[in-house]
């Protein structure tokens, strides 16, 4: 029963890992991977010699930080906000609406983004014009707006779904703890910080790690789609670069080398964060 599954994983997950050999070889179509000439670390050297290389690495790190660190309080905040709503009907309506964007594809979200931020006739610009601005800003073509746009759309898409688990965790916090805190004189705010937040800190830790590892596989879709000629300096991240040089330009060996570095960086980041989280939550939350 398990057999097809194992075979599948070998074929689709582990063999490609073996394909990493490609990073060290100059790919010749007729020779295939195994027989192509070995070029050692040449591609890695090439990469670091490429003037844009450090910008790419920087972008990748920035984007990663934004998507993990900056993003991560938001679903928690939303969960806390939802938790404070007394009326059940309103709460579930808001919840339902809030997870809707999660189910849209990035293509659709990117299309929405371009449309709304379109100069002159996108709603964002119309609103700005109404408020007295110029209404002509071509947001997607300017570098300085990219991180903001990327961040906002990422939050927009993920906040609702992300809040679900937190909300569940919040409801699991022992209610008597709140009463005890109240008796000790804590007001609502203090209760929130000391009881709720620390009650869910295990969940927060796990989700942080999971988010990070999830980023490794889907982090680039958004960037790839939101990139334009105007913002490419900051929009291009390692993943996007791999896609372009590998799949679109056919430089297989080179792209694999870059991809491999990125994979290793990602793995190291996950391990480090895992360690950090394990320490912070006294070993309660960790992947293994």
């Amino acid at each position: 029963m398990l057999l097809p599954c194992l075979i599948w994983f070998v074929v689709f997950a582990y063999v490609p890992m073996g394909g990493l050999l490609l990073a060290f070889k100059e790919f010749k179509f007729n020779a295939g991977i195994l027989h192509s000439p070995w070029v050692g670390l040449r591609y890695f050297e090439n990469f670091f010699a490429y003037p844009g290389a450090w910008q790419l690495v920087l972008n990748t790190i920035i984007v990663g930080l934004i998507k993990i660190v900056l993003y991560f309080p938001f679903p928690i905040i939303l969960a806390l906000m939802l938790n404070a709503v007394r009326r059940r009907g309103l709460k579930s309506v808001v919840q339902t609406i809030s997870y809707l964007p999660h189910f849209l594809s990035w293509v659709v979200v990117a299309a929405f983004t371009f449309r709304i931020l379109s100069p002159n006739d996108g709603i964002a610009n119309q609103l700005l014009a109404w408020l007295g601005g110029s209404g002509e800003t071509f947001f997607m073509m300017e570098e300085k707006y990219f991180y903001l746009v990327m961040f906002l759309t990422f939050v927009w898409k993920g906040i609702g779904w992300g809040s679900i688990i937190y909300l569940a965790a919040i409801t699991n916090v022992d209610p008597t703890l709140y009463e005890a805190a109240q008796i000790d004189g804590a007001n609502k705010w203090q209760q929130t910080v000391h009881v709720t937040l620390s009650g869910i800190r295990t969940t927060i830790g796990i989700l942080l790690i999971l988010d990070l590892s999830g980023l490794l596989s889907t982090g680039y879709e958004q960037n790839f789609l939101l990139r334009t000629a105007g913002n490419s300096n900051v929009a291009d991240i390692l993943d996007v670069y791999v896609l372009r040089t590998g799949m679109m330009q056919g430089q297989y060996g080179y792209a694999t080398a870059v991809g491999m570095m990125q994979g290793v960086i990602g793995l190291v980041m996950v391990l480090l964060i895992n360690k950090a989280v394990a320490k912070l939550t006294d070993r309660e939350a960790s992947l293994w």
């Binding site: 599954c5 849209l104 293509v107 659709v108 006739d121 709603i123 679900i164 789609l225």
Partner: protein, 296 residues
């Protein structure tokens, strides 16, 4: 024993609700905008100023969508892959999860690690593509199905659920002489409908929304799923229009369809299934997510 709400708390509560409503608006407004544009006359839209309601209502954009062969073909592909892919995937994932839940399976922990590790590290897109190519999957319909059959995440989710099914059910069936497959089909599956539904829905959404495989692993336009086609339209609204190369008689409403307005209508068509089905099934998604999170 509730403390009485004082004014500060009331204000905080009101602010809270306002912010939440703003969030909802931010989600609903873009939808309204796109809908309005899709129902609006193309050349009129180009003048700008449309917000959430069409100015010059027309069906023309949709007429064009449903007459456009490219769009119809990609719709067919999307529907097919979602149906077939999801069915196969759910079945196979369930089999794997079932096998993995048994405590008596030799090497069980090794297999689990094997699977989980793939969530953390991979060969990258180029080697992946090479593997696909060497298996002759590229540029075929099956490239959408086979590589998507399993996902470590789904396996773990299902396994967690299966573990909650009482072992005694299985044991008594075994005593009665049932083999593994019988147990699986007759006992486990019927009991697992909720989790099967959830995984099925996750899978279906994944298939429906995937633009990636079509963009990089397929050359034939006839094999593009809807999202890939949409992405192309996103890249070049005017190119899409020029390709149509049909001249409409004056007075035909389709005369005024522009690349942009066609794009809007296609967007709506691409999103509609999800938006329609979504309110009814989101409860199950949420449940599924919770089941998975219990593992942590």
């Amino acid at each position: 024993m509730r403390a009485k709400s004082n004014t500060a708390e009331k204000i905080a509560g009101a602010v809270n609700i306002t912010l939440l409503l703003l969030l909802c608006l931010s989600i609903l407004l873009p939808f309204a905008n796109i809908l309005a544009l899709s129902f609006n006359d193309g050349t009129d839209s180009a003048l700008g100023g449309i917000s959430i309601w069409p100015r010059e209502f027309t069906w023309a954009n949709y007429q064009e969508v449903f007459h456009n062969d490219d769009i119809l073909q990609s719709l067919k592909i999307s529907v097919l892959r979602t149906g077939i892919g999801t069915a196969l995937s759910v079945l196979l994932t369930a089999m794997a999860a079932f096998a993995l839940k048994k405590k008596t399976l030799p090497g069980r922990n090794v297999y689990m690690f094997f699977i989980v590790f793939t969530m953390l590290f991979g060969g990258g897109i180029v080697p992946y593509y090479m593997v696909l190519k060497s298996l002759y999957l590229t540029n075929t319909f099956w490239v959408y199905i086979i590589p998507a059959l399993y996902s470590a995440w789904n396996i773990i989710l299902m396994r967690t659920f299966f573990q909650s099914i009482d072992d005694s059910l299985e044991e008594s069936a075994k005593i009665d002489g049932a083999g593994d497959y019988k147990v699986f089909f007759r006992i486990i599956l019927p009991l697992s409908l909720p989790v099967l539904a959830v995984i099925g829905l996750f899978n279906a959404v994944g298939h429906w929304n995937d633009w990636y495989a079509g963009t990089f692993f397929v050359k034939d336009k006839d094999l593009y799923p809807l999202q890939t086609l949409l992405k192309q339209m996103l890249d070049s609204a005017e190119a899409m229009r020029k390709k149509m190369m049909v001249v409409y008689l004056p007075g035909d409403p389709r005369q005024n369809v522009t690349g942009e307005s066609l794009k809007m209508a296609t967007l709506v068509v691409a999103t509609l299934p999800i938006v329609c089905v979504y309110p009814f099934v989101q409860r199950y998604f949420v449940k599924g997510l919770m089941i998975g999170s219990v593992k942590g």
